[in-house]
Symmetry: C2
Subunit: 233 residues, 2 copies
DNA sequence: CCACGATCGATTGCATACAGTTGGTTCAAG
DNA sequence: CTTGAACCAACTGTATGCAATCGATCGTGG
């Protein structure tokens, strides 16, 4: 088993990404320590780590607060992410796929294909698709062999609430389109179509971002209230 | 004055970026605490932060070690950085420069122009040019208004030893070429030449990366020795 | 001579006590 | 009623002691 510090970090990260704390919420060390049944020491370690990861904001002598993202921030993040995923696809197309990674990607696509037959959208389908989508993108980046790129993308994906939004609000039509994009990216890569691989991958992510931002804007109207209340508390 | 934790973090970060610790060196908490005249607590906070920033590697129950970068890593980082700087230039070209940022960039270029008249390359020139170069790139990214992009680039630039290498090994010819690139990027941006701005900026960084990697390879032969020795100590 | 295992030193992990800072509240003066 | 300053409570910052873990060394058995 890992140290308490590490496991607290993971628990907190999950909670933050799951959107359990509203943006702007101040995190009290003793409360966290009590609720997680550890002392303040591992809590502080976790908070400092998560701040460096960009999920929290730190103010000396004041503590840590949950970073809040406005629609504009999400837009900026997705512009970057689209670029980076495009770069990843380009690199893979250039240097070719190893048998291992080709197999993994093919498996994802096969399983995604099966998902096309479902009749209506529900939470279970959403979870399965999220897993498949993550696997596709992660495998692709891993295949690029660029660990720094992988790290950057990991950070670009770590946005609170995002996973919930992204997949709960999906529908079968969007799913079909996304799956088709994946297939086209895969085809472009195996066919050595470097520019095309980059374009499709980039556009695929960008489009996904547009959907998110649209929904995010709807939430932004009532969010400042919660944030302000949290800040006041 | 900031807390000890923060100032220790800054001191250590500077030391790491300055290349004071060989890659692979294990950082002993009590030694650091003694040499910086603080207790282990702020040291631990700093280490955890720097690990999350990617300058150190953490292994539970074993501690922190200075991350070492092979030539391949540098290459990967520069591929990403070239793409991101290109993106930044493109964004700025698209949305136009504010008066403030246009002024700042113009000032940098004017000062750089003066630097073209120096007769030979020395440490002072190197320092001045490093400052000008940093200001140009930082201002450009700031002008894009994308804070996430700025954060990513900050991380892509934070590589130990890099600043030393980059500018000590420069020469007047390379300086002239780099300055010219900056001018062209500026011209493309003010002229709204979106694609051109992106291309030049990206290529400008990529080329700089090539130079670094070349020199890095020369060091890599004797580096593993130092790293192994440090690991043993 | 080699392989395996126990022991020991060194180092990190964690909890806790205490010090310092912040910002909010209260009280008094204008 | 407003303003300001002193006060206070709550929280974070730091030091330190002890527990737990790891790796190396030494010893023992094959």
């Amino acid at each position: 088993m890992a140290t308490r510090g590490v496991s607290v970090t993971n628990k907190l990260r999950e909670a933050l990404l799951g959107g359990e704390y509203a943006g702007g919420t101040r995190l009290n060390e003793v409360d966290l320590a009590d609720s997680l049944a550890v002392s303040r020491t591992p809590i502080r370690a976790a908070l400092s780590t998560l701040a460096a990861e960009g999920l929290l904001e730190y103010r000396p002598n004041s503590g840590y607060a949950v970073k809040s993202f406005a629609a504009k921030d999400i837009e900026g993040i997705y512009v970057v992410r689209a670029n980076l995923e495009g770069l990843g696809a380009r690199l893979v197309a250039q240097q070719g796929l190893s048998d291992l990674h080709r197999g993994l990607l093919h498996k994802v696509l096969t399983e995604s294909e099966e998902l096309q037959n479902v009749e209506d959208w529900n939470d279970e389908v959403s979870d399965v698709w999220r897993d498949l989508n993550d696997r596709f993108h992660n495998t692709l980046i891993e295949a690029s062999g660029n660990s720094h790129l992988a790290m950057m993308l990991r950070k670009s994906r770590a946005i609170p609430l995002l996973n919930q939004l992204k997949f709960r609000w999906f529908d079968l039509g969007t799913l079909a389109r996304a799956h088709d994009d994946h297939c086209q990216i895969f085809a472009a890569i195996t066919g050595g179509q470097v520019v095309r691989a980059e374009s499709i991958a980039s556009e695929h992510v960008y489009r996904s971002g547009q959907r998110i931002i649209e929904h995010w804007r709807k939430m932004d109207t009532r969010k400042p209230v919660a944030a302000a209340k949290a800040r006041a508390a």
